[in-house]
């Protein structure tokens, strides 16, 4: 078994108006990675490269131990992919799709498929064209999950879902990980979903990966400090101040290198620290993007 289900090394792809800049990324086997970026940041291009649908200009791509795109036929047997614009046949029923997938993939697990049908509150005999958006997403997910793929790649799986459907989908995803050989990569704008279920978080912006690490480490490193400063003091020059707000005596500092030592450094510089707060993943994402676009080092 590979310790990493996916390994990208300095992968680049150039288009006329967009380029993916030497991205490196590894997904440990048995983990869930949340892939966050604004529209057009490069999430889908990266995913298409992993699937062998787009060929990189340079760099190496290993998926489940296979070099992509050369060995994509081998790799794809073990990859399940779900995207928002899944093409299902509108006139055929979900049962027809299930049989069709089953005829191609020998790993198909009918008992699991039926369990998911119930869980997702879907009816197999219903035609695809009669399904709501949420039902269609759940149907696509069912078709991918019941194949029991080693790598599950999901492009915006929870976008446009109602709260109940979202929880159903997230639960199904978490349960996949009961099997330690299986790995999930999912892209999302919904940082709340990523915060809930991801082991690893990756931020991508303008074709570059700006953060890729354990979610716990990431949440742990960021803090908002509410401080009181002397009237003539500025906080911008203090170490690791990524953002600061306020002009009076009460100011807020955001840092991405928090430690008790850093807090001491601030106190020694004369700041009176009134509160230390954690940030949500969404706040961290937005602050990271802003800092990078302002030319600051993260």
């Amino acid at each position: 078994m590979n310790t990493h289900a996916v390994e990208l090394h300095k992968v680049g792809k150039r288009y006329k108006y967009f380029s993916l800049n030497d991205i490196s990324l590894s997904l440990p086997t048995g983990s869930i990675t949340g892939f966050i970026g604004v529209n057009g940041a490069g999430k889908s291009t990266t995913i298409r490269i992993l699937l062998g649908l787009v060929h990189q200009d340079h760099g190496s791509v290993q998926v489940l131990g296979q070099a992509m795109p050369e060995q994509q036929v081998l790799a794809k047997r073990e990859i399940g992919y779900v995207s928002e614009d899944m093409r299902l046949y509108p006139k055929a029923s979900l049962a027809w799709h299930m049989q069709f997938i089953q005829s191609i993939y020998p790993n198909w697990d009918q008992a699991y498929a039926e369990q998911l049908l119930k869980r997702f509150d879907l009816r197999a005999e219903q035609k695809i064209k009669g399904l709501s958006h949420g039902q269609r997403v759940k149907a696509s997910l069912l078709l991918a999950l019941a194949r029991r793929p080693k790598l599950l790649i999901l492009d915006e799986p929870t976008t446009g879902l109602d709260p109940v459907a979202r929880q159903e989908v997230l639960t199904a995803l978490i349960e996949v990980l009961a099997d330690e050989d299986r790995t999930i990569l999912f892209s999302s704008h919904n940082t709340l979903d990523v915060e809930q279920i991801s082991d690893q978080v990756v931020f991508i912006d303008q074709g570059s990966i700006i953060e890729a690490r354990s979610k716990e480490d990431l949440l742990d490193a960021w803090r908002r400090l509410r401080v009181r400063v002397a009237p003539d003091q500025t906080v911008a020059q203090l170490p690791y101040v990524l953002q600061h707000q306020g002009h009076g005596q009460l100011q807020t500092i955001i840092t991405n290198r928090y430690s008790p030592e850093l807090q001491q450094t601030y106190q020694q510089a004369g700041l009176e620290i009134q509160a230390v707060e954690l940030l949500t993943l969404e706040e961290i994402f937005v602050a990271s993007i802003q800092a990078r676009r302002e030319g600051k080092n993260l």
Partner: protein
């Protein structure tokens, strides 16, 4: 004995999820719901039950292990440590952390030590009244 997890995570709690897990496990051990030596859910199982990431549960278990509250045997699972002093120690630790909070709030309000002690005595008296 295999313990079914009945922990729950609050999204509005404000504290990190791993701390909530640690606290709830400590409570269950302290009040005896999870007796010494009993097997507790595996990391992956608890992650699935709570619908949160494996790494978050892993971190909670790691810290609980570090504090000697649980032991993890490779390939066998995690168990409540068989240390009889544990539950007393847990409550002591909890008291200390509340006292720290009290001291912080008192400083924020600008209370003197005498005023703080007075308030504490009043609270203790109130508690005794309720018990009678």
């Amino acid at each position: 004995m295999n313990i079914h997890s009945d922990l729950s995570i609050s999204r509005t709690d404000g504290r990190p999820m791993y701390l909530q897990i640690i606290e709830q496990i400590k409570q269950r051990i302290a009040i005896g719901d999870w007796p010494a030596g009993s097997e507790i859910p595996s990391i992956r199982q608890l992650a699935i039950d709570l619908r949160i990431s494996v790494i978050t549960v892993k971190r909670a278990y790691f810290e609980l292990e570090h504090e000697g509250i649980i032991v993890t045997q490779h390939g066998k699972g995690s168990f409540v440590a068989t240390n009889t002093q544990l539950s007393r120690q847990l409550w002591e630790d909890e008291l200390d952390s509340y006292l720290e909070q009290v001291a912080r709030l008192a400083a924020l309000l600008g209370l003197s030590n005498e005023q703080l002690i007075h308030r504490l005595q009043a609270a203790a008296a109130q508690q005794q009244q309720e018990l009678l």
